[in-house]
Symmetry: C2
């Protein structure tokens, strides 16, 4: 396999190193605007597309532009594309999967969800035999690191975030992580592939952890509950529910024990039931290894995307119901069932209802925080 590698940051350098150690992979070009001091370096993306011997382009630049233009150009030039860029694939899902199909080339993005976990590949495999009925999990290491540290060590959100930044788990601008957008992109990709659909990112309800306080965490702890940022999607009676929300789990639940920056992602299928994958959700080598594994899959004959179809399907979060911990200065009288610390526990309500309430309340109280109380299953 002759590879054109786009991006030489943390992941790119890892991919380069792993590929270099193998006889079956040759990195011919490495595209980067910075001078990176390796013989394969180029600043001209066209070098990759015009070289007829390059069969596979790996995109690990991140961001939407020019990643989108480069990936589209690579597919149009008849190259297989492997990417770790969830934001890109979630945003241009229909365009890129259709283009790959049209050009009869492979388009793979296993490293985009779960870092080192071969999650999308496993979803594709189980779907050969069984319908997937639900997905759920911890899909973001940064927020799990923050929540774990708050619960175990009594840190404030700000201190836990600073620590995550110092360790390189969180970016200087942590918004995409703490507001749940990173998780949303990963969930959208997973649900698209699991259910053979194409979802609109704007329809997915997302509650983040930006506003969680140490008092909130204390309130949960005193009730033997642990807060985790969970992504969830399911199909039931023809409806598709897809949402991201802080969720209160029994302390003794397996998901509650997921430490530091690890991910635990689960699918539930018609025959096998629940199957979970647990591993490092990010990091140079885990992510780079999944990128290289995608290349090895291409070598073994894979020539396509994970799912064939992509029906436009509307998200309907009125079918997912929870009691919520709700802390806000807005009026909660109509919703509250009992007082919980600084907030209330609401009556059972749907994710869609809570999203509508929170959207309105946010204008009055930007510090509002909500967390769903996990119903026993």
């Amino acid at each position: 396999m002759i590879i054109g590698l786009m991006g030489f940051g943390t992941i790119g350098a890892g991919v380069y190193e792993l590929a270099k150690s193998r006889k079956d992979l040759t990195v011919r070009y490495v595209l980067d605007i910075r001078e990176i001091g390796i013989p394969e370096w180029t600043t001209r993306a066209e070098d990759l597309f015009e070289d007829k011997e390059v069969d596979t382009v790996i995109e690990v630049m991140g961001g939407l532009h020019p990643a989108y233009e480069f990936v589209a150009a690579a597919l149009k030039a008849g190259k297989n594309v492997v990417t770790a860029n969830k934001y890109l694939v979630a945003t241009y899902y229909d365009e890129l999967t259709a283009l790959a199909k049209e050009q009869d080339v492979a388009f793979r993005c296993t490293a985009a969800v779960g870092g080192g976990i071969s999650w999308l590949t496993s979803l594709e495999r189980v779907r050969r035999l069984e319908p997937v009925v639900a997905l759920e999990g911890i899909m973001n290491g940064t927020t799990n690191y923050i929540l774990t540290n708050m619960a175990k060590n009594g840190l404030s959100f700000e201190t836990a975030l600073s620590e995550a930044q110092a360790l390189g788990y969180a970016e200087a601008d942590p918004s995409a992580d703490i507001d749940g957008l990173d998780v949303m992109h990963k969930l959208l990709l997973s649900a698209n592939i699991a259910f053979d659909v194409s979802l609109d990112p704007k329809e997915i309800d997302v509650f983040g952890i930006r506003n969680i306080t140490d008092d909130d965490v204390w309130t949960f702890k005193s009730r033997h509950l642990t807060c985790k940022l969970l992504a969830r999607a399911f199909q039931k009676n023809g409806k598709t529910a897809v949402f991201v929300q802080p969720t209160l789990l029994s302390e003794s639940a397996l998901t509650a024990s997921v430490p530091t920056n690890f991910n635990l992602i689960t699918y539930d299928t018609a025959f096998t039931g629940k199957m979970s994958y647990y591993g490092q959700g990010a990091g140079r080598y885990p992510t780079a290894a999944n990128v290289v594994q995608d290349c090895l899959d291409l070598l073994s004959g894979v020539t396509k995307f994970y799912a064939d179809a992509a029906d436009k399907v509307a998200v309907d979060n009125s079918v997912a119901k929870y009691q919520y911990y709700l802390r806000t200065t807005a009026d909660t009288k109509a919703l509250a069932a009992e007082k919980w610390g600084d907030g209330v526990l609401t009556k059972e309500m749907s994710v869609a209802e809570m999203a509508a309430f929170a959207e309105k309340a946010k204008a009055e109280d930007p510090r509002i925080f909500v967390a769903a109380l996990k119903n026993e299953e």
Copy 2:
């Protein structure tokens, strides 16, 4: 794919049902000595081998004989073989893998380890890129059900075992489960594939849970420890350690939270680090689904066993060191570091040393129980 199915018990009937629902799989024969009332029924194994159109034989009869003779005959007749029979593959590993290679047919047994978890397939996949340095996990649902029930509900071993039998998790003769032999076979297969070796089952040290008492469990609980039956294998400095032992984990460890009959199995690799698989370790549909997934892998072009080589390698458990909880009427003065409930906590010693001690002590005290104290990693 034209299939000859051998065995129509719990798993066999599940495979039959799943295969029937697919256009790409045809079950032409079902071998069973009992009259099973389906049109594909036969009592003549030769029917499967002599039919040139049968390309794949599925063996889910269980036991060593005549399963071994039938599987060998199928391979010799040029059929691919898929089996869920860990005892068979662990016992005749060299013979069967060599025979498959010689005949250039596929030999797959994903359902033999982890029930519904695609564990062996995942091991094969990760090995394409990275050396596996260690394996560890809960590989037996029956014993995990018993241990969970003793810890959570304060049951005696006998009551917990009876409940497991009533629920169909444990067999009438539960020896293979509670003495750790079932786990040993699964560990041997996993280690053979992970490390490209062929291990001798007799060299693997195995401590079971037959003798655990509710007082032992209480002693662990008072120290915030949870006892799980763990399989472990690792390679270090050219040595290969492979053993099965009750292991005391911190209550808050992820592995300590594995409930009922679930399995959690982990590999640790050079680049990606630890990756765990969590799912139902047994049951009709999980196991049958993995058998059928093996068939789908064959359809997609897989034509071999999981690992190519199989060097004879000696187990050396002198390199694995633990402190042990040891309860016995035999003399423990030379080993003991402190008193723990009915037993003692030993000084650090190797698995090999503890195995030698236990072997000798058993003559005097058949009720001896040992559990390793998991060292922090």
